[in-house]
Amino acid sequence: MSGFRDERLAALKAKIATLEAGGRADSESLPFGDSHIDSCFLDGGLPLGCWHEFGGEGMEAETAACPAAFAALVAAPLARRGEAVWILRRDDLFVPGLVGLGFPAERLIQVCARDEDEALAVAEDALATPGVAAVFAEVETVSLTAGRRLQLACEKRGATGFVIRRRPYGGKAKAAGGSAAASRWRVTPAASEPGPGEFGLGPPRWAVELERCRGGRTGSWLFEAADAFTYEASDGTHPLRLVAPLGGQQLAPSQPLRRTA
């Protein structure tokens, strides 16, 4: 009896997985290299060929420095594979700072859009272009229809979209509607820790909450930019290092939590 139930359950799960993958058999994923977070995703890593949403709170809702930096580092391994396109509404992205965090900016094309609709249209266009691996778009909100269109564009060539929610300065907060994103992240700055015997600021840290994850689990962690402001970067490892899981997350029972703080 229970064997039959398990079988049915497995078949249903497989069916859902194919639906989630949007009909693509060759869905890829980008592992973070830490089982704490990779186990939250269906395929053991951030799914590619779909789009992800990053946002912040308070001051970060308008400046969006931390969500954008986190998204850039999540996508850094992708940017080494192909071209990256960054769509802005305000031209204040400072590429030397991006390079300092360990993002390969040599193939980054920046586009300054005039309004929200144009930014989304450019993102859609870029996602459907062969050779483009990652597309970053700084927009206010993505409506359900726009999100669906982005998803279709992602599925065309398997490019991955990174939508960074950013409110115009002085703008009123808009209610975030339902979203077609594969995952939604909230990134807030966290106090940095300089190494023992070092002065000043340590590598940048962020408290990251995975608020929504299609086909996976949510969670929150403390991340650190592992290669920030150093030449000793790009040895193949992921530029984000998980410092510690933060409280209140659901963990798979099979994987006991090991604190690494």
């Binding site: 420095a65 390079v99 300092g100 700055p189 940048p204």
Partner: protein, 462 residues
Amino acid sequence: MDRAGRRLGLYVGQKATDAAAIAPELVTAEAEPEADARALSALVDWCVRFSPAVAADGPDGLFMDISGVAHLWGGEAELLADFQSRLSANGLAFRIAIADTPGAAWALAHYGQDGAIARPGQQIGLLAPLPPAALRLEPETAAQIDRLGLKVLAQLFDIPRAPLARRFGIETLTRLDQALGRSKEALIFHRAPTPWFARLAFAEPISAPEDMARVAFDVGAALCARLEKEGQGARRFELCFHRVDGQVAPLQVGLALAARDPTRIAKLFAPKIETIDPGFGVEVVTLEAGEVEALSGRQARLDSLLEAGSAEGLAPLIDRLTNRLGEDRVWKARPVESHVPEQSVVPGAALGPSVAGWDPERPRPFRLFRRPEPLEAVTALMPDDPPRQFRWRGQLHRVRRAEGPERIGQEWWRGAIEDVRTDHIRDYYRVEDEAGARFWLFRAGTYTPGTQAKWWLHGLFA
């Protein structure tokens, strides 16, 4: 040398001091060979109205081959008169001669009578009284001939060829033969660039948008076929709809890489054609290609869509974006060697070689404000200390950690030495507030006792 100068007794090659002694009111100017060459080149271009074969000669002359064109003016004399009047109208000083050979024409123009026309086969008589220098000889050779008492060309004509060549070099003989038409001379004619231009005229004016889109493709196909035949591609196209009422509506598209694919070009024009008001109809459409450059043929590959990372897919995207948003809205950041943060990045071509030249060990913010924003209520313990707290956009931030200062000064070597000031400096600090937000702020200028230091926020770290 113009008439006024000649009247004063000035001549070419005179020393400036001698000339000033003759005419004390003389104003001297530096020679500008490049500007002269440019002006001559422009004159050569202009002369194409008389003959398609025009060649620049030396710093101050030009040859025009008028074989077969003089009858259009009614004869050589009429052509010459028209040419002279047009040159005079432009305020140019000139000397002209017409002869069978370039050599003879040069000799007559430089040493003979201005406006001389040598009848066919008759130039030998006109050349005979001219000095040997009229043969376009090296100055040393001409001086040597002159020293030997050979004052006119007629004397040179009588000398047997072999001793002449032995005595004055084969060059003299060649020049003599060229002047008399016994030896050929090659001129390098200036070739005006063939315009990359195509035109379609219609029997009936058109106005439907789909018709306009179709003719845009047709005229593009005509031009692209020509481009392909000559192995060229263009990066700029201008499509003009000439309306019945004489109005012209131009449309432009630019491409990141040179291309000659009519379908692609038509696609770039398509959204713009909708904005055109055809009025009572369009009777002529023209397409002009600009920035034409060599483009090797490429075979369309079956798997070209699968070629990830190829410029094939990216170039059309860049074209679409630059044409839709404007050229300054799509770029790739390029490093500039500058300490001043806002000057260390310039926008470069979106499609281009990848470069990165920024020092990753120097912490730079993730977002840099175009204009630094003033900070209020900044408290620092010591004049040289980072602030303990500051107010930005109405919010108070308490500083938990700070590092700095990094002093960035004016790049004095870029400007004039008089403009250099030592107080144009910024002391940058990287600070982290209690919430973990990281800022890049600076104190402007040096510390002066009794005055409040001015603090600015220049960027945000992630």
